[in-house]
Symmetry: C2
Subunit: 401 residues, 2 copies
């Protein structure tokens, strides 16, 4: 018998009507003969409401107690969804993260899954029950409730699909698939039928917010077939798998990432070990560095520029300022008025014309490229922030016909 894991986000279960809609999707799948495990998030604004309640008491509450509080959100969702499925006449049972066997480490508010003990869950499936599981949550070795942090429910679904060796893991969201570019900005963007894990990972890290990287990484590791589709429209979504069949669409996506700041260190000593010193200082503070560019400066010095996520640039400047004597007392220049445009596609490496076609499109639109970074399946450029949407459109049109 086929086994399908279906994950529904907070907007998909926001009210009674939406819950009934989700129940219909699940029971349709069940009626066609598959076993179904549904993983759900907290309803719409529940999490925000609970956070507000906590902040009324303490602006900086204990993370263990926050997890105790927030985990009620998914528990409410699973009970209501199970009621809706039962009302439609199907056998169903809801399970909390703990009951579904999610064992995590003790990093409250951003716990990692250590293992999933699916004995109970499989027993329920053996009885041909639909099983509704609370996403985002688990239990640590001290028998305390933990939550998985950002992208948690997607990760719960993929972990269950991996453990149960499910035939498919469907991620239902409020968009109907993965697009070549954000369709709200680029009207000509096209929905992808398929995309590879690696391409999806690059797209997500370039700011395409459909799936959290954490869940895609796990799907890649355990080779879980993913599909992203809409809970509101009944049509095929985008399949994410190890290898995609089609080669004809070279570029899988164009993405814009505004969450980026450029830092330039000007007037560094031009001798070995300088770059190592800088990036080991940043790594020690767990600051992720993306694009790096080094150029020769004047008078035997050199300049190094790099980009960091917007929420860590202050920490980066702080550590570099503190340790300035180690890096030749260089000038530290910060530019927050930048955005990153990336194209992603696995056929890129063997097609040398791709980069030049991207640069040509930008040049024709009079958009200046400030930094460039390339990988096997990605080309990113840094440009002025206000030109971001325009760049997204011209690059998209250059590749997606």
């Amino acid at each position: 018998m086929k086994l399908i894991v279906q994950k529904f986000g907070g907007t998909s279960v926001a009210n009674a009507e939406r819950i009934r809609n989700v129940a219909r999707i699940i029971t349709d799948t069940y009626r066609k003969g598959a076993n179904v495990v549904a993983v759900v998030s907290a309803q719409g604004d529940t999490t925000d409401d609970l956070i507000a309640k906590a902040h009324e008491i303490d602006e900086n509450p204990s993370k263990r107690e926050m997890d105790m509080l927030l985990s009620t959100g998914e528990q409410i969702s699973i009970a209501l969804l199970a009621m809706a499925i039962s009302k439609m006449g199907y056998p169903v049972i809801s399970l909390t993260g703990r009951q579904a066997g999610f064992f995590t480490d003790s990093n409250h508010s951003r716990a990692r899954i250590k293992r999933v003990d699916t004995e109970r869950l499989e027993k329920e499936l053996d009885q041909r029950k639909i099983v509704v599981v609370a996403g985002f949550q688990g239990m640590n070795r001290y028998d305390d409730i933990t939550t998985l942090g950002r992208g948690g429910s997607d990760t719960s679904a993929v972990a269950l699909a991996a453990e149960l060796k499910a035939d498919l893991c469907q991620i239902y969201t409020d968009v109907d698939g993965v697009y070549t570019a954000d369709p709200r900005i680029v009207p000509s963007a096209q929905k992808l039928e398929e995309i590879s894990f690696d391409e999806m990972l690059e797209l997500a890290s370039c700011g395409a917010q459909v799936l959290h990287n954490r869940s895609v990484e796990m799907a890649k590791k355990y080779n879980v077939n993913l599909e992203v589709l809409s809970s509101l429209e009944d049509k095929p979504g985008t399949k994410i798998k190890e290898v995609t069949r089609m080669e004809k669409l070279l570029i899988k996506g164009v993405a814009k990432d505004d969450d980026v700041v450029r830092i330039s260190l000007i007037g560094l000593a031009d001798h070995p070990g300088v770059a190592f010193k800088i990036f080991s200082l940043l790594a020690a503070r767990k600051i992720n560095v993306d694009i790096i560019l080094q150029s020769v400066g004047r008078d035997g010095t050199k300049d190094i520029s790099f980009t960091v996520p917007i929420d860590s640039y202050k920490a980066a400047v702080e550590v570099l300022t503190e340790e300035r004597d180690q890096i030749n007392n260089c000038t530290i220049d910060v530019d927050t008025d930048v955005t990153k445009i990336s194209i992603v596609g696995s056929g890129m490496q063997s097609n040398p014309g791709v980069a030049s076609r991207m640069f040509e499109a930008l040049s024709e639109a009079d958009i200046n490229i400030e930094m460039i970074s390339t990988s096997e399946i990605k080309i990113s450029v840094l440009i002025r922030k206000k030109l971001g949407d325009k760049a997204l459109n011209v690059v998209s049109e250059a590749f997606v016909k």
Copy 2:
């Protein structure tokens, strides 16, 4: 070291300000050198809100899923209260019913506690932590969440106090103790310093809603010292214990119970076994019968009248109608326009003047007595419903000076 269990109801934790107030009561007790276990209910209207959400989906939802849903209410309360205590600088941890070791049977929505495994809880107390426990909930042998039904949080608190051999179990409510009569109806009512378990049980079953009988029964069984007091005013409440010291106040309370219906069976055959037949039929349907009165009728028949709770009189009439041929095809008369007035006090039996003083007070107020029932520590009379408040006042004044 002293150990005190403190229970706080839904109104006591209804909002952030009330939660901080409860945190102050707990930390005051802790600071004076006692170990404290706090048992809390769901916030104010949370349970009603959750029930409304469920009913939007199914008017008659699965009880197992209802328990899954409703148990989130107390879980929210314990997390918020633990945050408030922590914010005040005290070591604290919250535990769900399951984590606190409440094992119950599988009667979802009205489970009975089978045992309390306090190993985890005692480990936390050993570290001098304040432990905040979710009342009303537990776990059955299948690892499913259960709830204890009416009076559940009080029962949780008493069960913990019994298992931990606590020195005192304080039940904080929105009234400041047990009164000789409902002070909202009888202005002259007095607060009792002490009352025995048996007296409290009779008072509660007569409609005094301070404590649910279930928790008092358990306190009596395990000899747990109880105290009922207000979370809003800092003054002594009422102590409930095995034997009370004082004898001077003979009558401990006067109570009114509107939740009662009189059923009369007129024209029954006057031979042995008739009463047995009637009450075994009712017992089989789990219908509680309170006052019973039998009188001789005309023509060799007899009449039997009895009272039942208002929510089971329809079931009573139904079973008696179905089985009318077994009870001489008697006439079934139902009277819902009645109320029960009771006086409770353990010194009653050895003071023959008590009943007559009660009847005299009612007679002087021109209130007709329709049925009478007496026990060792209680006298109840049935009167017209509209005379209830007047009767409560005159009887109260006759005894409480």
